[in-house]
Structure formats: structure tokens, C-alpha cells
């Protein structure tokens, strides 16, 4: 009995585990205590008796602490006045689903994945083309953040695991430039672009603003802030590009104004201690700015969705809802603006209404942890990607269901959804719309062969462009005098 209790409360699993096991020639037959080898700089004078005394003391201390925290559990706290109570706190656990599959529609989206391939998915033909910066994919170039670059939706900024940010052009279909963004440790947790500057934030909490010039000479950041360790997300306000919010594990939500002072504009406060008078831990996994107001929504690893209002004097969350029992990893706003869709590590997607704090419905299909979610700005479509290597597009309203599903062979980290409206009317990329129809059929065949060859990489794409050029030359010959 005593040895079992000792085993619980020590940080070491316990010599008993390794000693008394039924093992075959294992490494841990330590024999008697007197003959054991000294570990971790222990004194030879520490006899076995002192050891037991110290562990007993630790054991007592731990149990006293536990008792203290539970001592007043049976005494109910005084009811808080109504104004101070949080507006609603429903426990949302029900799931309703209405699966239905719709006819194919066309869309275009970009996704980043763990091995630095950037699948560009054309759902009109259910094809994905991979783009790699250097021909062969490498795990060091795993994409951890994606955002749109300057000038509409023609450029994408790709943040890789080796701390470089690459510029990718969607029209040309290739990587244009790259810049190395050193400082701090960990991967990129947020990437944003504002007025010709590049904002990056890494895991260890270093937020830097870089001048976005083509020259690689300037390596010094314009501004550097330390946000706090363990950052999980940095998000830029789409309405005010110089305002940025950060949050993470044991790192409360902070809103920074990059043109203002070095202190955060809004620093959130943790909620009150729970009914056992224990501190509620913080783990902000994703942040979104609500449009047309200063409010922010966060989703946490402790399955809570919280709304903060910097305009109100209250630093604590204004509204809170919970969903499920697993950490929420991704979140996006719906086109209506009244609800958010969250995804958790079990692949469950739920739409939560922010006005009432209740669950509107769930979306089925994902089998792995949700890593990226994005809604289309006007159409009721949601793109989701996750660790189960499949990109899915769901329809959110009337009726709720899966629309497209594309298998991409690597685990997906993030995605970007293009907000363009008329996909159906656009001709195929990257051809000009003035091409003669026979050539179009040839390119159709080319696309089909690309699909059949299962993911050609950049060399493959180049060869198709060359083929197009030779054909153009051939067409010129009969009528022209030039060689």
C-alpha cells in the first residue's frame, strides 16, 4: 500500500514499476536499494530512509493541497448579481446532422500541407496540382501559415517551417521570391500583410513587422514585439490592417495596434475561478474579428467559444459557449455574421450561434483533427482540411451537407479560399480566353492526362507549357514567312 502511494506522488514513476515487473532480461533489475547506482547527482549519504522521508513529505504536501482546494466545495458561493453573471453559458452537447450531397460546383482553393507541397485544387475538374518551391518536396519547407498577398487575390504569402516566407503567384503558378524571417523559435503562427509590410509571429512570441521590399538586403524588422510564449494564433483585423490579435496556451488574448504604443490595446482577463475555486486554464487556439464592431471571438483548447468586447469596460469575456469534449482547433465566421463554425481534434464541425450561444448544427465527414477552416464571404460554402488528408467543401445552409471531397495525399495544415464569385463562367487557367477551340480540346486532354498521372509536380507543369508553345509555333508555320 505504502509503496503504491509513493509511486503516485513522485514525479518518477517509481522504482517499483521497473523493479517488480515480470520482465525478460530487462535493463532494470536493480536489486537491493543499497547496491543501486547513484542517479542525477544524489549524495551517497542519502540513505534509503531519507529518501522515504522526503517522498512521504511530498506525498503529505500534495494531499494537503488537494484537500485545501476542495475544502470549501460543499459551501455554495453567494449568487452573483445578475449584471455580473456571464450572459449565457449553455452546455452544448447535442449533435444534429442532415447529410446530403449536391451537384458539383466549381471553386478554387489553395492549401498548405506538411511536406511543403502546395496543392492548388480546381474543383471544377476535381484536380489538384502541386507546386513546390524547389522541385522535390522537403519536410523543412512544411507550410504552417498562408495568407493573401498584396494586390487582390493574385499573390499568396507562404510561411514555411524553416522560417522563410515565400511569395507565390496564382496567375503564373510559381514561386516568385522568398525572404528569411529569423528571430524567436518555433513555426509561424500568424502571417499578415499590411500597407507594404509583412507581419509575422512565431511560437515563442516574437512578433515582427518586416518591410516588404523585393531587395533582400534589408534584414532588420521595422518593429518587434514580444507577445508572450506559447502563441497559437495571430490574426489581423480585415477592417483595420494595423490591428493584430494574439493568443495561445497560457497566453491570454491581446490586441495590438502596430502603429500605436508597444503595449497592447486590449488585454483580456481570465474568467473567475470555477465552482471548485480552481483557476480556469487558458488556451486560445483560434481568434477571429467580428465584422462591423470591435469584438473578437476565440475558441479554446478547453472546448469553449468566447466573445470579447474591447469597447466595453469588461475585460472578461462577454459571452461563452462550450461544444464537445475535445480541444477546438479551428474557427471561421459564417457569411451571415451571427455564427461561427468550429472544428475540434476529433473532426467534429459545429455551427454555434453567437447571439444565443446555442448549437445550430453539425457537419459530418471529417475523420481527423481539423486544421483549417474557411467560409466563403458570400456563398454558404465551407472549406475544411485536416489530418485525414482530405479537403472537403460543405454547404452550410439549406440543406447542410458535403458538396466536394478531394483526397490530397499529405496531412493538410492550412487553407485559403478564394472569394471570387463567378467560377463557372471563367475559362480554364492559365490559358487566355482567346484560344481557338481545337487547342482547348487538346488542353482538355492534357488536363486529363495530368489527372491520370496522379500529381505531377512543377517539372510536369513546365512540360505542358512547352507543349502548348510548340503547338502555337506549328500553327504559325503554314501561313507565315518567318522560319
Amino acid at each position: 500500500m505504502r509503496s503504491r502511494r509513493l509511486a503516485w506522488n513522485r514525479d518518477d514513476v517509481g522504482r517499483g514499476f521497473w523493479k517488480f515487473g515480470i520482465h525478460r532480461g530487462g535493463p532494470c533489475t536493480q536489486g537491493s536499494r543499497a547496491s543501486r547506482t547513484l542517479e542525477n547527482g544524489e549524495d551517497a549519504s542519502d540513505g534509503p530512509d531519507d529518501d522515504i522521508f522526503i517522498s512521504l513529505a511530498k506525498c503529505l504536501f500534495n494531499s494537503i493541497q488537494k484537500l485545501r482546494s476542495r475544502a470549501f466545495a460543499d459551501v455554495l458561493p453567494d449568487p452573483k448579481p445578475r449584471s455580473e453573471r456571464v450572459a449565457w453559458r449553455p452546455l452544448v452537447t447535442s449533435r444534429r446532422t442532415a447529410p446530403e450531397v449536391w451537384a458539383a460546383n466549381s471553386a478554387r482553393r489553395y492549401g498548405g500541407c506538411r511536406t511543403a507541397l502546395e496543392p492548388w485544387v480546381n474543383l471544377q475538374r476535381k484536380q489538384a496540382a502541386n507546386f513546390t518551391p524547389a522541385g522535390q518536396p522537403r519536410r523543412e519547407e512544411a507550410v504552417s501559415a498562408l495568407c493573401w498577398g498584396a494586390g487582390g487575390e493574385t499573390q499568396i504569402l507562404v510561411g514555411c517551417a524553416d522560417r522563410t516566407v515565400r511569395h507565390f503567384s496564382t496567375e503564373d503558378g510559381r514561386f516568385l521570391a522568398q525572404r528569411h524571417c529569423p528571430g524567436g523559435e518555433g513555426t509561424f503562427r500568424g502571417l499578415a500583410q499590411a500597407d507594404g509590410t509583412l507581419i509575422t509571429c512565431v511560437d515563442s512570441g516574437i512578433l515582427r513587422v518586416w518591410p516588404d521590399t523585393d531587395k533582400q538586403a534589408s534584414l532588420d524588422p521595422l518593429l518587434e514585439l514580444s507577445v508572450g510564449p506559447g502563441v497559437c494564433r495571430m490574426r489581423q483585423d480585415p477592417a483595420r490592417p494595423h490591428v493584430v490579435a494574439t493568443g495561445g496556451k497560457e497566453n491570454a488574448l491581446k490586441v495590438w495596434d502596430l502603429q500605436g504604443s508597444e503595449e497592447p490595446v486590449f488585454r483580456a482577463k481570465n474568467v473567475r475561478n470555477d465552482w471548485l475555486d480552481l483557476r480556469v486554464p487558458i488556451w486560445d487556439q483560434d481568434i477571429q474579428f467580428l465584422p462591423e464592431s470591435q469584438k473578437l471571438v476565440t475558441c479554446t483548447g478547453y472546448h469553449q467559444v468566447r466573445v470579447y468586447d474591447p469597447a466595453s469596460p469588461q475585460r472578461r469575456p462577454v459571452l461563452e459557449a462550450t461544444y464537445g469534449e475535445y480541444p477546438l482547433t479551428a474557427m471561421t465566421l459564417t457569411p451571415g455574421g451571427n455564427s461561427v463554425i468550429v472544428g475540434n481534434t476529433h473532426g467534429q464541425l459545429a455551427e454555434i450561434d453567437l447571439r444565443q450561444g446555442r448549437l445550430l448544427g453539425c457537419l459530418k465527414g471529417l475523420a481527423g483533427s481539423v486544421r483549417g477552416l474557411q467560409c466563403h464571404p458570400s456563398k454558404p460554402l465551407l472549406a475544411s482540411c485536416g489530418l485525414d488528408r482530405v479537403l472537403r467543401v460543405h454547404r452550410i445552409q439549406t440543406p447542410r451537407g458535403l458538396e466536394h471531397k478531394v483526397y490530397l495525399k499529405s496531412q493538410l495544415n492550412c487553407l485559403l479560399l478564394s472569394g471570387r464569385e463567378n467560377w463557372e463562367d471563367e475559362p480554364q487557367e492559365p490559358l487566355e480566353p482567346t484560344k481557338v477551340p481545337p487547342e482547348d480540346t487538346e488542353t482538355d486532354a492534357l488536363w486529363a492526362s495530368l489527372e491520370a498521372a496522379a500529381k505531377r509536380k512543377l517539372p510536369g507543369l513546365e512540360s505542358t507549357q512547352e507543349a502548348l508553345q510548340t503547338r502555337r509555333r506549328k500553327k504559325k508555320r503554314p501561313g507565315s514567312t518567318s522560319p
Binding site: G14, H23, T115, G301, T345, A367, D388, S410, A454
Partner: protein
Amino acid sequence: MAKAGDKSGGSGKKGLKRKAPTEEPQEAAVAEDETTESGAQPPKATAFPPGFSISEIKNKQRRHLMFMRWKQQQRKEKLAAKKKLKKEREALGDKAPPKPIPKTIDNQRVHDETVVDPNDEEVAYDEATDEFSSYFNRQTSPKILITTCDRPHGRTVRLCEQLSTVIPNAHVYYRRGLALKKIIPQCISRDFTDLMVINEDRKVPNGLILSHLPNGPTAHFKMSSVRLRKEIKRRGKDPTEHIPEIILNNFTTRLGHSVGRMFASLFPHNPEFVGRQVATFHNQRDYIFFRFHRYIFKSEKKVGIQELGPRFTLKLRSLQKGTFDSKYGEYEWVHK
């Protein structure tokens, strides 16, 4: 009326070999006419109202009788149809149409797009750099820790011991109420590569958690049909210390590849063919059957096998990225 009643009573008794009564409301009328002609003619079936079914008969014995009669009728018809078809085929000879393929569950499956193409470069690169690559590059050799849930009973303990004889370099430790999350860092520091935890419910092992150690995925299986050595009929003698070969069948999809590699990394890379022992993980319809055999080649094509070792069936419930953390870990695949 009485006559009809008598006749129906009579024909009911004689009607043991007659046609099913469900078919004839009209024949009842015909029967009435025909009974007047000759007694030698076999009386037709009894009169039943239209829309009558055998299940409406209240008397169980009578109902059973009617049903048996109907079944025999059906069987006869089926046999006759088969014979006719066979005769037609023989008559046609070479010109006969090809035999239709019977529908099985495996035939009717929708093609799974995640099936891995052997020439796929992306998947090959992914596998060359994932958590198992150090095993497949021969940089690490496996060392397994087998343990159970808290307070295991006899069957589970014996299964652990037998598994430790099947898997080379496996060590069994008794779990004394210790948290897995605390055991894992200690295992890593003692160079274990895999952790197997056998869960038990009501004295019977029913679950398996397999965690690849430095930072590898954790698979949670449901275990069923566990047979220990003494419950296996016609088995061979106990397995020797030779390193067995491994057979992994049907792990074709991307998820199957991950799980298959996990099983492969339990065994050392260099099988000793002298020992003639083989461990098989056969995946069929998402159930993985584990068997351990000793084989001997009697001639070029004939093999004799003896089943040794424990046998069990696994079904994957979830594959979690990272070491065991069921609450806060990220799942690659969850059975839904």
C-alpha cells in the same frame, strides 16, 4: 356448401403434396366445378380469400405445415430452373454467354480513392520522412514494453506473457496504477521504441493501445476473439527464440499503410529463416487478424503449417498523432 366444405376438408388432408393454397382464389371455384367430374382427378387446393398469406393462420402447427409446403415448392422450382439453365448452356456449348459473377460484399464496394499507388512519389517521400523512417532505415531496432490496464486478471497476464514470446525484445511490466503519460517519458529515456497496453474488461482482454515512442502515432484497437495457446487446437510446440518473419496482408490504403508500418516496426528487421516462424497480420474488411505459425516446406509447392502462439482480432478505433494523449491529442483518424 356442405359438399364444398367436405371437399375442402378432404383436399386439405390429401393436400400434403399439393400446390400452395395462396395462389388460388379462382382455382377454388374451378375445384368446385371439377370435383363434380371425377373423383379420380386430384382435388385442387382449398379455397382461400384473396390476399391471404400463410402468416395469418392462427394455428401454429398448421401454419408450420403450410410454410414447409411452400418452401418445398420453392426449392423444387429453383432446382428445376437450374437444371433448365444448365441444359441450355450445354446445348449452346461454346456459344453460351459467360457465367455471371456472383455479387459479394467485396465486389460491391465503392472504390476507395485513398488506395496507395506503388509508384506514388508523394506518398513515398512522406513515408521516407515520417516517424517510422528511423526503423526502416535500420537506425533503430525495436524494443517493446508490454503492460496492461490496472489490476489485470489471469487471461490478460497470460496473453502478455505469450505476446512477449512472440515479439522479440519485448518486456512485460506489471502496471501498478500508474498513469501512461508518466510512464511514457521514462520509456523514452530507457530507449523503448513501442508501448503496448492491453486493456481488460470483465476478466477478458478487449483493447490494445499501441504507441510508437519517441513521438510517434498511437493506435487504439478493439481486441476480440482472443485465444491463448492452450485453447488452440492442433497447435505446435512453444515458439523458439528465433526472430519471426512478418506478413502484412491487404494494408492498401494510406491509413492501412500507416497502421501496417506500425506493426512492422514491432519486429526486428532481420528475420531468422532458420526458425521458420511467421507472424501474420491479415486485414480483411477493416478487421486485422493476428496469427503466429511455424511452417515447413514439404516440397516446392506444398507447405505444412502449425499454429503456435496466441491469436486475436483487432479493429482500429482511432489513430492519434503523437504519443498517448487521448484528451488533448490530435487525431489523424477516428472511427465514426
